[in-house]
Symmetry: C2
Subunit: 304 residues, 2 copies
Amino acid sequence: MTPRVLIAPGEVPVGARDAVVAGGGVVVDRPEDADLIVWMTPTDPSGLPELLAAAPGVPVQLPWAGVEPFLPLIGPDRPWACGKGVYAPPVAELALAMLLAGFRDLVAYGRRTAWSDRTGRNLHGARVVLVGGGGISEELARLLAPFAPRLTVVRRDADRPFPGAERVLPTSALHDAVADADAVVLTLALTDATRGLIDADVLAAMRSDAWLVNVARGGVVVTDDLVAALRDGTIGGAALDVTDPEPLPEGHPLWSLPNCLITPHAGSTLAMNAPLIAARTRANVARLAAGQPLIGLVDPTAGY
Amino acid sequence: MTPRVLIAPGEVPVGARDAVVAGGGVVVDRPEDADLIVWMTPTDPSGLPELLAAAPGVPVQLPWAGVEPFLPLIGPDRPWACGKGVYAPPVAELALAMLLAGFRDLVAYGRRTAWSDRTGRNLHGARVVLVGGGGISEELARLLAPFAPRLTVVRRDADRPFPGAERVLPTSALHDAVADADAVVLTLALTDATRGLIDADVLAAMRSDAWLVNVARGGVVVTDDLVAALRDGTIGGAALDVTDPEPLPEGHPLWSLPNCLITPHAGSTLAMNAPLIAARTRANVARLAAGQPLIGLVDPTAGY
């Protein structure tokens, strides 16, 4: 079969059209003709309900890994695929950059205008806890391997093995997992079960020199608790690519903390995204043509 | 034989004494009794000439990889070993931290107090030129391997192979080597032949978005030329763990450039150094006991 693909909303980018064709499909204009809807705007579902109504049962591919804005629409009546795993390489790269910047004090050095004492500590051999067992954690573990880290993975299903991890623990063991960590990296999905997971209790369980890196979603962390923990030295520092609220408003206390680095959800930039999501679209069109299930399927019950 | 080791100057640190014993040696107090002199201060040779006169032909181990302050003393009348390779792991770690900070714009983000556009580019697949083929470059290549970089090594002897490099070029080909590089990392020794190697001409040969990382010695770069290149956008940015002059004085133009990160010769801190140099001392004492040549021998002609 030659999958007929509706790309929406708005004008169809050349790269998306090329990806459909490269996957063996054709681009169509009307939802009634579509075998697959490729939705391009990551946080705005406006207009999508009308397409869904006109194309019952037709699968949808969403662009980002996080699908929070689409949850009211996602149900078992059709397959929903998301950008799960697509952006793992650039996001994991940023997570490693943040770990190294934290451990080697680059944020503090970058803000100075005078020579200072030599400080910092090694990532080599460090105890790193990855909270989340998905594509970002897998890719980060791969990048970390030459540093011979002592890796703990905290995930919903602790029975699933994780390559390179010393320990795989369930989310219920989070306090124990973080207790001796040099760094805790958040890569997990934001769901009702993970919202506010990193609160004052978890932060208090961490070492006073430990770094927290968040490349997941801002809502996984209780922001006020984190501000307090950074202010009073409960933890060593934080590097946040995502915040709650996001964007973080000017004047927010996080901006002025000496041990906090904030990047503007830059785990994967538009320039980095384009070829990655195009490759996923091509793969999914090809799978549809071959009668195979889509890659990156959302579990409607889990919400990611 | 049980090597008799003089540790100087000043009081003998516990770690150094333990390392001698662990290597099968004993610590002695007088140069006349010594089979090996372990010199502990990295930049100050005061007092060493007297020891050398009292212990003709006795080998010396110096603590750092760079031996510039000791060059007037170093000759063919005895073996001189240095910290060559000892600090490669922490220094290469800092070089990777700087590369990632540069590529992912962490210096700029770290100085902001407001949300901004997503910027940055990937280290993954980048063209990286390592100038210097020693232990730091080898260790950095190992850390870079998961990023699948396109690696060029520039070294004195281009006939020596370098694991993981696409190209090994002689220093005379430096201009060609840097022309298409995303980043140029300096790891080479400072000698008469390398002083001022990175000048306006080399910087002009680099791409306007390329980063320069210096974890070698400040004198390898012509500082005024670098300031000009950073100011006028000849290159994208610089991350410098070493400077000329060093320490870099307050008010120096490098401190206020938006695309420049300076760390205070923190490639390896005192805390990182202690176990690394102790391990080298232990190894060299054991080699002396076994009648083998010392590790990290300085070539008196090359000056490193």
